[in-house]
Symmetry: C2
């Protein structure tokens, strides 16, 4: 894709995305200041309630309508030996999701979040699998170390998967969606995206993923550096869509599409760890107005995640040393968001409760 | 109370408290390592599940049986002008709790935590209030700046309130209890306890409580320094019970009693912010085995809270810039604990799900 083509596609993807309403945010803050608590004493919960009011432009009620989308896909770069787990685990874990035995199943059930598992590019025949959203673009990306991970058509199709699901989420009345992924090798892809977007060094952004040792991590850094050299040497401002096409993944592209379209539909987006944050960072690079729709569920242990959160000026809700993916950190943050909305809606005011206000 | 009397009372309070079971903790960790996730990738959730197994000495099931106890009392030191709110707010907020309009009501309802409001020393006649646990020892403490906050008898009675409620909690089958408080002036008391226990400087441990300004904070520091000078000048190792009697509060003593007795009964204790952590720190000072039963719900904005968490080697579950009290931070952490237990119980193992394990 040349720069002109990338620009045209970007325009189509970002059309109509406006920032959340500052008027509604102010209105929410005024109400929060009347509730029976010291001013500002609910801290981040007050920000979350005000952000939700600004996004939804209404008094959001509880229970929130919550969904989580887990996008699964394989990565050509796994042939370089960048992961502690064999590539087949992507497929095996999708089956685990469908049987209800994975971490995200447990958390989604407990916190009443509707779970949608999306095959956007798993290297296996899942045609007969029930309970799965069949949106396979192809059986995994190509090896980004020497060629673009996706063709133009594959990129567009993967973006479209997320855009379409965001439309369905809006039609279903969800007020907040969590996004997440399963894809052996995808921290390698997310690291390359992080370096290309923020111009940080691969050594700083590369972590141990699912649990590789020091030697394997050194090899992973080499793979990422070679990839970056191949695709971006001498280019400073590569269009975000071209970064995504060359070093991204099908599940990452689907999440980027979903973030853009969810923002357009006025749905709050709870991002998870390193991979989903990379997808969101690409969306923000295309359209800065997206930023106000994002909530960072948690801070993962991957060093690149800290770099991206800082790049996006997002403060994570939770910081529990997790590094699992599947949107587990995002879904775990849902009860905090729901608490914020409940407090906003249900607490008494100083006037209604007959409680004296502060004298200072 | 002389040192001998304090020692005898301490012995009675701490009898029979043993550490959580390391055998059960190991057993839980072994199971966690078999679940379909990269080793250790659930971070703090794995620690919480293992701690719960060690405390309960069984495979705890969900939904957990959860309760929160909010202890209300007044403080003689409020005549010194240490708070942004008038003393009457303690009473007014108790009425707000009973009508269901306070932050803790909202969070307890949302997260299915049974709420118990305890009058252990509110300076108001609450005899006709329904839905309140009537355990008033007296109508507030004396002004600690020039005399001991409590008599020996008042201290013993307030401790007994918490001990008795812990026994009732055990009988009711609660597996985890949150503790918290309401008491205008009680950050001043908690700061004095923190300084006496950890020998830190009052300037470092004093915060703005419910929201006093810089000038009022300077005055609060003076009050605390005068108090410490009066009670502890020249004494390094004051028995914890004597610190509690001289500069504590009735609600703090009740929480200390509850922490000790809950640990003896094998109930996990979710502590909240600065005040409840001061109560727990006194319990640990009396009996170090209590530490293993504590979970820190959150880190509040009060600087003294950080000092106490570090003193107790506790890492808070949440850090959301809250400073409300009422056990709101502890109850907000309950869904995280419940998530940890659910994951531990319900996730598939590599073997049961047919997922390949890591190759390293």
């Amino acid at each position: 894709m040349n720069d002109d083509q990338a620009f045209t596609l970007q325009q189509a993807l970002t059309r109509g995305i406006i920032s959340p309403s500052e008027e509604w945010r102010d209105r929410a803050r005024k109400r929060l200041d009347q509730l029976t608590k010291p001013l500002g004493s609910l801290g981040r919960l007050e920000e979350l309630a005000a952000q939700m009011a600004a996004i939804r432009q209404r008094e959001e009620i509880t229970p929130l309508r919550k969904a989580v989308y887990v996008f699964a896909a394989d990565h050509g770069v796994t042939v370089e030996g960048v992961s502690a787990y064999p590539r087949a685990v992507t497929h095996q874990m999708v089956l685990n999701f469908l049987r209800g035995g994975a971490a995200i199943n447990v958390l989604a059930r407990l916190h009443h979040v509707d779970l949608h598992v999306v095959d956007v590019g798993v290297d296996a025949d899942l045609a007969d699998a029930t309970g799965l959203l069949h949106r396979k673009v192809c059986r995994g990306t190509r090896n980004m170390i020497g060629e673009a991970a996706m063709t133009d058509e594959q990129l567009t199709a993967a973006l479209q998967v997320g855009i379409q699901l965001a439309g369905e989420a809006a039609a279903a009345g969800y007020s907040v969606i969590a996004i997440g992924e399963m894809g052996i090798g995808n921290t390698t892809s997310a690291t390359a995206i992080t370096c290309a977007l923020t111009h940080c060094d691969a050594v700083l952004a590369t972590g141990s993923g699912t649990g590789i040792d020091t030697k394997a991590r050194a090899h992973k850094i080499e793979v990422i550096e070679t990839t970056l050299e191949h695709h971006f040497a001498g280019h400073i401002n590569v269009p975000p869509l071209e970064i995504l096409r060359r070093v991204g993944g099908l599940e990452i592209a689907a999440m980027t599409g979903m973030v853009l379209a969810a923002a357009r539909c006025g749905i709050a987006i709870m991002i998870d760890g390193f991979i989903s944050t990379a997808a969101a960072a690409l969306a923000v690079a295309m359209e800065p107005n997206v930023q106000g729709y994002l909530m960072a569920g948690h801070r993962s242990e991957e060093p690149g995640h800290r770099i991206l959160l800082s790049h996006l000026s997002l403060t994570p809700i939770l910081s529990l040393e997790m590094r699992l993916g599947e949107s587990t950190g995002a879904v775990l943050a849902m009860p905090v968001l729901e608490s914020a909305i409940s407090l906003y809606n249900q607490m008494a005011t100083f006037a209604s409760a007959g409680v004296s206000e502060a004298s200072v």
